[in-house]
């Protein structure tokens, strides 16, 4: 943790309010995000209990599974979820703009530009916490291999139509969220934690209610008091007044409220099945509906506070101006969305259970590149982030005190001006260390020449972006009196080497993975819980 954020954390303790960790918003927020607040049943691998989902903060759609162990009810939940998520996703699939992409020509092996469609915008999923992201992945994994009756008439427990497709999209969202700086799927606690530092530990920041309490405490209460209340306060029934953001529920809720309600539901269902005539069945159906309504109310009572909290978090985030380079990263998310849209349209099979060697290596390379890009872009967009890099010796800022024109040797001398910068920072500069500054959004590079007066003055040689002529173009060389900020890290990331195609996986990595076969659905047994 950088000393700057440590200080901010301590100041939050001392002032009773969260402190800024950023001065701009570093993540994209769409106009119409889909908020998803799920709950699961304890002890089972992601068996859903219910959820609030939707794009309208005043009208969330309530989904509930009155008996989480019932396969049909679970499928009904997933089908309903698909009915909300898929139309939302589809609504972004239509509008496209023309864009260029570099591809390898299969005939010549050359890199050529091709014109392709790029979706003009992309869907965005917001869940309350990191555990919500894990659940999105788990739901994706559990449903993408399912077979519908249409796909496989023999399937013993066919999934409702569109559920496997839901699984493929949830998987895509979950996988994309592992890419640093991406915004297709965000956890509210993560995004808030990126922009504010509270007076509690990062572990405690995982509690959305407590985190918001620090950032935006109610009138007349300190963040610490409000957070403690959010964490621990219980009502007369022993229930948390601020229920956990899920997907796990509070054991006291399970034991005191949910379990008896599910039991009543089960009894009502058994009674209905045992009804002997229509009249009795009507009565008992009423009782069943009442029992079901009770569970729906319980689910609503635990999800609604979190739903409201997520929207409040969105409000707070929208108050921050968007960072200059956020748009560029969102364009990458749009590419990712467009790519998956195309794979689905092309009828490609669902994402495999495990990545092959080449896919795994490619993903790792992409994520490392995006991590480096994110770190550089956040620093360039935000003086507070840059301050951290300056403190750690990876950047320095100061005033230009001297500029001396100099030229490269050779037949066509180019300008290589020497610029002296007065700085209080202590960058880790060594012989000919390369440094960069942002010039009209593009990086200009320079190299370290010497320092004077124990590092108070740094002499740099500017190397590029000065035009083709013998004299530098106007504005391309800093002038005496200019404030400048140079970084030791690069601003743009180079693409890595191209890895072999999966069918050319070398012997060191097990050789080619073989024919891609459609992965079988999980065998369906009586014992299934999801």
């Amino acid at each position: 943790m950088s000393l700057i954020s440590t200080l901010a954390r301590l100041e939050a303790v001392s002032t009773g309010r969260a402190q800024p960790a950023a001065t701009v918003r570093h993540r994209h927020l769409g106009d119409r995000p889909l908020v998803f607040v799920p709950l699961i049943t304890a002890g089972e691998a992601g068996a859903p209990l219910g959820a609030l989902v939707g794009t309208d903060r005043d009208a969330p759609r309530l989904l509930a599974v009155p008996q989480p162990r019932d396969r049909d009810l679970r499928f009904a939940f997933l089908a309903e979820l698909a009915d909300v998520v898929l139309p939302y996703v589809d609504s972004y699939a239509e509008a496209v703009e023309a864009a260029e992409r570099t591809e390898t020509d299969p005939e010549t092996g050359k890199r050529v530009k091709v014109e392709v469609d790029l979706c003009a915008d992309a869907p965005q999923l917001i869940v309350p916490s990191r555990a919500g992201i894990d659940l999105v992945r788990l739901l994706g994994r559990s449903t993408r291999f399912r077979r519908t009756a249409e796909q496989d008439p023999e399937a013993p427990y066919p999934a409702p139509p569109r559920v496997p497709l839901l699984g493929r999209w949830l998987t895509h969202f979950g996988e994309r969220s592992r890419v640093p700086g991406s915004s297709l799927l965000l956890a509210m606690t993560d995004v808030l934690g990126r922009h504010w530092v509270t007076g509690q530990s990062t572990l405690e920041d995982q509690h959305l209610g407590a985190l918001l309490a620090w950032i935006d405490p109610p009138q007349g209460v300190t963040g610490a008091e409000a957070a403690l209340r959010a964490e621990l306060e219980r009502d007369a029934q022993g229930q948390l007044t601020c229920p956990p953001a899920g997907p796990a529920t509070d054991p006291a809720f399970d034991n005191k409220l949910l379990a008896p309600a599910i039991e009543r539901y089960d009894r009502a269902r058994t009674a209905l099945a045992a009804a002997e005539d229509g009249l009795e069945a009507d009565d008992r159906l009423g009782a069943l509906s009442a029992a079901e309504r009770e569970i729906r109310d319980l689910v609503l009572s635990r999800t609604r506070p979190t739903w409201d909290a997520v929207w409040r978090g969105l409000d707070l985030l929208r108050e921050l101006p968007e960072g200059a380079r956020v748009e560029e990263r969102w364009t990458r998310d749009r590419w990712s969305f467009t790519g998956h849209r195309d794979r689905v349209l092309a009828g490609e099979p669902p994402q495999p259970r495990r990545d092959d060697a080449v896919t795994a290596a490619n993903k790792l390379a992409t994520r490392e590149r995006e991590q480096a890009r994110l770190e550089a872009q956040e620093a360039l967009d935000d003086p507070l982030v840059m301050a951290g890099r300056r403190l750690s010796g990876e950047a320095f800022a100061g005033e230009v005190t001297d500029v001396v024109m100099a030229y490269s040797e050779g037949k066509r001398p180019s300008p290589r001006p020497l610029v002296t910068v007065r700085t209080d920072d202590r960058p880790h500069l060594g012989e000919r260390t390369k440094v960069y500054r942002s010039l009209g959004g593009k990086p200009q590079s320079a190299e370290f020449v010497a320092d004077e007066e124990d590092g108070a003055y740094v002499v740099l040689r500017i190397l590029d972006k000065m035009g083709r002529g013998k004299e530098p173009e106007p504005g391309s060389v800093p002038e005496k009196g200019d404030r400048v900020c140079f970084t030791l890290f690069e601003h743009e990331q180079r693409g890595g080497a191209k890895l072999p195609d999966p069918e050319e996986t070398p012997w060191t990595h097990g050789g080619p993975p073989g024919e891609l076969t459609l992965e079988a659905a999980d065998p369906v047994t009586e014992e299934d819980v999801l």
């Binding site: 700057i4 301590l10 001392s14 002890g43 691998a45 034991n255 259970r353 840059m386 300056r390 403190l391």
Partner: protein, 377 residues
């Protein structure tokens, strides 16, 4: 003639006094082991666990109840899964042990599943040891010990442990089996939970090694306690069992060292004021004073591992300890330990400017102020 009062019995006596009259010692359960792993340096936790104090009851008596509860859904499900794994005389469980750990042995059939019921933990421990000795007399056979009881010497007093199962292989070696209810999805599982299971199993292995050494002292070669344990979990989205072998050598080494270090609870006990007692029956101010007489090293990780965490957190925050915000915070603060000291040093009101920690803090404060000001403009 009464036996001389040895060091061990004196300590045991002292720990009983700390627990309070007629309060039975609490076994060193999974949660206590988790707390030991999460914060081995905490003297308060060490003495309370060493003395077998019920920390959950203590926390409630202090007015800061722990938040550990278990959902009945999880409980029912966990029990049902374990029963399923052990059904039919443990046939499926033994099949998994054979498949994952000992394929060269004869496949298990007609395994011995001795009855381990006995009165009280000591009785059950003796019974378990008897059956382990008995199993050694049946080379070539598989034996399944369902919920055996083991005793481990912790700081001079026995802590009772109850593994889910121990399997004796045909070659006479022993395997610890842990049955958990988190899923094994596509062959992998929640690494934090597997880690906790591995640490728990390591303690069982240590306890078994003591039994094995005793059997070895009787003349026959000491049975080998395997350092790969079997973790059994529900597979994917079903409750069919799947298993994975887990190498616990590292956890064993660390736990062994930590357990030997628990002997320092004698020093901690000696430093306590005369008459200190942690009985939840005591009035809360007396109890608070007793708990406060042992220093704690609270860190946020305690919240998920120790019943007393909320109490310690409140104290730690009151004292303004920077570690209440996380252990890593201290890394760059040198000798500064409280929020106000750090802020005063950063503001230039206190601290030696030649101390690199103070100098760095002032630079950080200046850079932060400059950035925030730039953003306002």
């Amino acid at each position: 003639m009464p036996l001389p009062r040895t060091r061990g019995t004196a300590l045991r006596q002292r720990l009983a006094e700390l627990r309070g009259p007629d309060v039975p010692a609490k076994a060193l359960d999974a949660r206590a082991l988790a707390a030991l792993a999460a914060n081995p340096g905490c003297a308060r936790r060490a003495i309370l666990d060493g003395a077998g104090v019920n920390k959950a009851a203590l926390a409630s008596a202090l007015g800061a109840p722990s938040a550990f509860g278990q959902s009945q859904f999880a409980l029912t499900r966990g029990n049902a899964f374990e029963a399923k794994v052990k059904a039919d005389g443990g046939a499926e469980l033994l099949r998994l042990v054979h498949d994952k750990l000992d394929r060269s042995a004869e496949p298990p059939a007609d395994a011995r599943v001795p009855d381990l019921t006995a009165a009280g933990p000591r009785g059950r421990t003796a019974r378990t040891e008897l059956e382990l000795r008995e199993a050694a007399g049946h080379p070539g056979a598989w034996t399944l010990l369902d919920h055996p009881m083991l005793a481990l010497d912790v700081a001079g007093s026995p802590a009772f442990l109850e593994p889910d199962a121990v399997v004796v292989h045909p070659d006479g070696s022993w395997t610890v089996v842990e049955i958990k209810s988190f899923p094994l999805l596509d062959g992998s599982a929640d690494a934090a939970k597997v880690g906790a299971a591995a640490r728990q199993a390591a303690v069982y292995v240590l306890a078994l090694e003591e039994v094995a050494a005793r059997l070895g002292a009787e003349g026959a070669p000491a049975p080998r306690v395997r350092h790969r344990v079997l973790l059994v979990c529900p597979r994917d989205f079903s409750n069919l069992p799947a298993a994975s072998a887990v190498d616990i050598r590292k956890q064993r080494a660390v736990t062994a060292r930590q357990l030997t270090r628990l002997t320092r609870i004698e020093d901690i006990a000696d430093a306590l004021p005369e008459g200190t007692c942690f009985s939840p029956e005591l009035p809360s101010d007396e109890l608070t004073a007793a708990v406060e007489s042992v220093p704690a090293t609270y860190a946020p990780e305690c919240l998920s591992a120790c019943e007393l965490a909320f109490h310690c957190r409140a104290r730690s925050r009151q004292e303004g300890a920077v570690t209440s915000l996380g252990r890593p915070l201290r890394a760059e603060l040198g000798g500064l330990t409280t929020v106000e000291d750090v802020l005063a040093a950063a503001r230039g009101e206190a601290g030696d400017p030649d101390d690199p920690a103070v100098a760095a803090l002032r630079r950080a404060a200046a850079l932060r102020a400059e950035a925030l000001e730039a953003a306002c403009r």
